[in-house]
């Protein structure tokens, strides 16, 4: 190892890595969501790269190329399953990661920009899911994209422009598929990596937030390499195994090939977008902009501005009851909207 690092002229860097110490609770059972996100991200990049080897971004060939990768390439459907479940779990864990940061007040000074970079990452994931959903060119992906595009088009002034920009024209065809593909595998991942690098930069400079309950634990340190890296590799193996088993027994769905002439197909919203869907349903006609832009946009602004609005130094939840109460009320409203949307779309009341 030493000889190799010398040959590569990386001796100094290796010494710095070996000397790096991190808090002992940097990756423990009660503080693992950040590491889990990194594991999922690596799995998503690897599984995505596998699928890109076989994928052909043209409407006449996209579905068949995905079908080939799934059912002709050994374990292709398992790898796609890892990608499919990986994104969903990534979104859930990222949400939990931010909820935890919110509850323990980790967004407060001096970690405001860590919080902001986390929120921006959260906003980027739906963009990756939306662009990825169209790629298999199946019925669900195609018609779900039509619904999303119609919602984007309803945004005043810029809606049509954005639709033409991402779609390359009025219809979802080969140009749209190519643009979604390029966004999905190039621009959005690059942006994601930049945001994560920024997040890690602040993590290194500002450090992990102090535990609320165990005052003495931060005095203990472990080595980054090999102790923390080994823990992370163990987590990586465990998550890979679990996702692999889930994907083997419950393969990721691939619907029928997209048929743009089949207007009978009714797409149903995914779990993470249920509340947004309900907002669009509640605010109809000229009020659509309230549900599609003003309320979601207001929530995003509120989340981004949180560290600058709540500037008190207190981190303990018991001393931040007002902020927590507002968050609980917002969460209950979003959950209620999601349940309403679920009932409407999945119990047959929706046309």
């Amino acid at each position: 190892m030493d000889t190799l690092s010398e040959m590569l002229a990386m001796g100094d860097m290796m010494d710095r890595v070996k000397a790096l110490r991190v808090p002992a609770d940097a990756l423990t059972w009660h503080r693992f969501s950040g590491s889990l996100l990194l594991v999922l991200l690596v799995l998503l990049f690897l599984s995505g790269a596998f699928m890109a080897f076989y994928y052909s971004p043209a409407p006449g060939a996209a579905y068949d190329s995905v079908d080939f990768a799934l059912y002709t390439v050994p374990f292709g459907d398992v790898i796609r399953g890892v990608h499919y479940y990986g994104w969903n779990i990534f979104l859930i864990v990222l949400g939990l990661h931010l909820v935890r940061a919110f509850i323990v007040g980790a967004y407060k000074t001096p970690r405001q920009l860590m919080w902001v970079s986390g929120i921006l990452t959260l906003l980027l994931i739906p963009a990756l899911i939306i662009t990825g959903d169209l790629l298999p060119w199946d019925q669900n992906g195609f018609w779900t994209t039509q619904v999303r595009i119609s919602i984007i088009a309803s945004v005043p002034v810029v809606g049509d422009f954005i639709v033409r920009l991402i779609q390359g024209g009025p219809l979802t065809g080969i140009v749209a598929l190519t643009r979604f593909y390029v966004l999905h595998i190039l621009f959005l991942p690059t942006l994601l990596i930049i945001l994560i690098v920024i997040h890690f930069h602040f993590l290194k400079v500002r450090g992990l937030s102090e535990p609320l309950f165990k005052k003495d634990s931060r005095s203990k340190n472990i080595s980054f390499f090999p102790q923390l890296v080994n823990r992370w590799l163990l987590l990586f193996l465990g998550v890979t195994l679990v996702l692999g088993v889930i994907s083997w027994y419950w393969p990721a769905p691939l619907g029928d090939p997209a048929d743009p002439t089949d207007s009978t197909f009714v797409p149903r919203p995914e779990w993470w977008v249920l509340f947004l869907n309900q907002l669009v349903t509640v605010f109809k006609g000229s009020l659509t902009v309230i549900g599609s832009v003003i309320i979601p946009g207001g929530l995003v602004v509120l989340l981004l501005a949180l560290p600058f609005l709540d500037t008190s130094p207190d981190r303990h939840p018991a001393r931040r009851k007002k902020v927590l109460l507002v968050a609980v009320v917002v969460a209950i409203i979003l959950l209620g909207l999601s349940i309403m949307s679920y009932v409407e779309h999945f119990n047959g009341n929706h046309p």
């Binding site: 579905y63 769905p253 090939p257 048929d259 089949d262 009978t264 797409p267 995914e270 999945f346």
Partner: protein, 328 residues
């Protein structure tokens, strides 16, 4: 209870509830009937095999066309599979067993064809994806030229890259031999449709003399018509003396051949009883032949069916397109 334990429970509950939503997302899409093939350890050996109890029955609606226009019927469909084979069971109401298919009848002086066709069921799968078959079904492979009737229609795909696997069970022409006719579908040409027989031998042979006035063959000594009705090519001898026939005698006109090669892939067992047909069709999951769909139990397949009640190709009952999936 410690804080750690409470936190663990909360996280687990959140993950489980999220998982419920993720699971619900899978049911999205338009309503399309799905036949789920149940996994069985040993292959069903007959129509009453207990293995069929493992399969969920799906009542598939059919709508009539041409002479059956406005009429409806249904086929109860089941499917099971083993490590290497797939088995379908179809039950449908049909008061009359039709296997005549123009059989000869002697009136004491001359031979003539009896009126009557045969009952059939056909199933179309995709070998190579047929554009819009998943949403439109058989409609995309039935091409009726403008201004013509369904009788002039051609059955086939619009490009050579699209290939269908057509299983065709015929009560008179294939079932007596214990098979369904294994055919495939390719691009139609200007002259003819795209229906092709699988590689090998099979089909049927017309039982008639060169002048088409009378039958040429009769049962060989010791051989009886299969299923009590139909003569097989393998069981006949040439008629040397027609004087032995008496008025009212009948002989098969379309005699099934024993299929060979890829054409012999789909075996059949049938019974007409209680005012309806029960038919089992079965073959290997993957025959290894280019003219057959290779069933991969991890994948879903689209298929559509047509039913013929003592009728020709244009007079049928058609199903919507369905999905075949394999239970684990």
């Amino acid at each position: 209870m410690s804080r750690k334990a409470i936190l663990s429970i909360i996280i687990c509950l959140m993950l489980i509830s999220s998982g419920m939503f993720m699971g619900a997302d899978k049911v999205s899409g338009a309503a399309k009937q799905t036949v789920t093939a149940a996994k069985v350890k040993s292959a069903p050996t007959g129509l009453d095999d207990p293995a069929w109890q493992k399969a969920k029955a799906v009542e598939v609606p059919f709508e009539g066309k041409e002479k059956f226009a406005g009429k409806k019927t249904a086929v109860i469909t089941k499917a099971v599979y083993t490590d290497d084979g797939i088995y379908f069971k179809f039950d449908w109401k049909d008061a009359t067993k039709s296997v005549t298919k123009g059989a000869w009848k002697f009136d004491g002086q001359k031979w003539s064809h009896q009126k009557g066709n045969e009952d059939r069921i056909s199933i179309l799968f995709e070998i190579e994806r047929i554009d819009k078959f998943a949403t439109k079904g058989c409609a995309v492979v039935c091409h009726v030229p403008a201004g013509k009737t369904a009788k002039d229609g051609k059955f086939g795909t619009t490009s050579a890259a699209e290939k269908g696997d057509l299983w065709h069970w015929k009560a008179a022409r294939s079932d007596p031999a214990g098979f369904a006719d294994d055919t495939w579908l390719t691009q139609i040409s200007e002259e003819k449709g795209g229906r092709k027989s699988d590689a090998g031998k099979g089909g049927d042979q017309k039982n008639m003399t060169a002048d088409k006035s009378k039958p040429m063959y009769m049962p060989a000594p010791g051989k009886k018509p299969a299923a009590g009705d139909v003569l097989l090519v393998a069981h006949v001898v040439e008629i040397k003396d027609y004087t032995g026939f008496k008025a009212g005698d009948t002989l098969t006109y379309r005699m099934p051949k024993m299929p060979e090669g890829s054409r012999a892939d789909i075996k059949a067992i049938s019974r007409h009883a209680g005012g309806g047909w029960s038919v089992i069709l079965f073959r290997k999951l993957d025959t290894g032949h280019d003219d057959d769909v290779a069933f991969n139990p991890r994948k879903k397949f689209n298929f559509a069916m047509a039913l013929f009640d003592d009728s020709g190709d244009e007079d049928s009952y058609d199903s919507e397109v369905l999905t075949l999936q394999f239970a684990r």
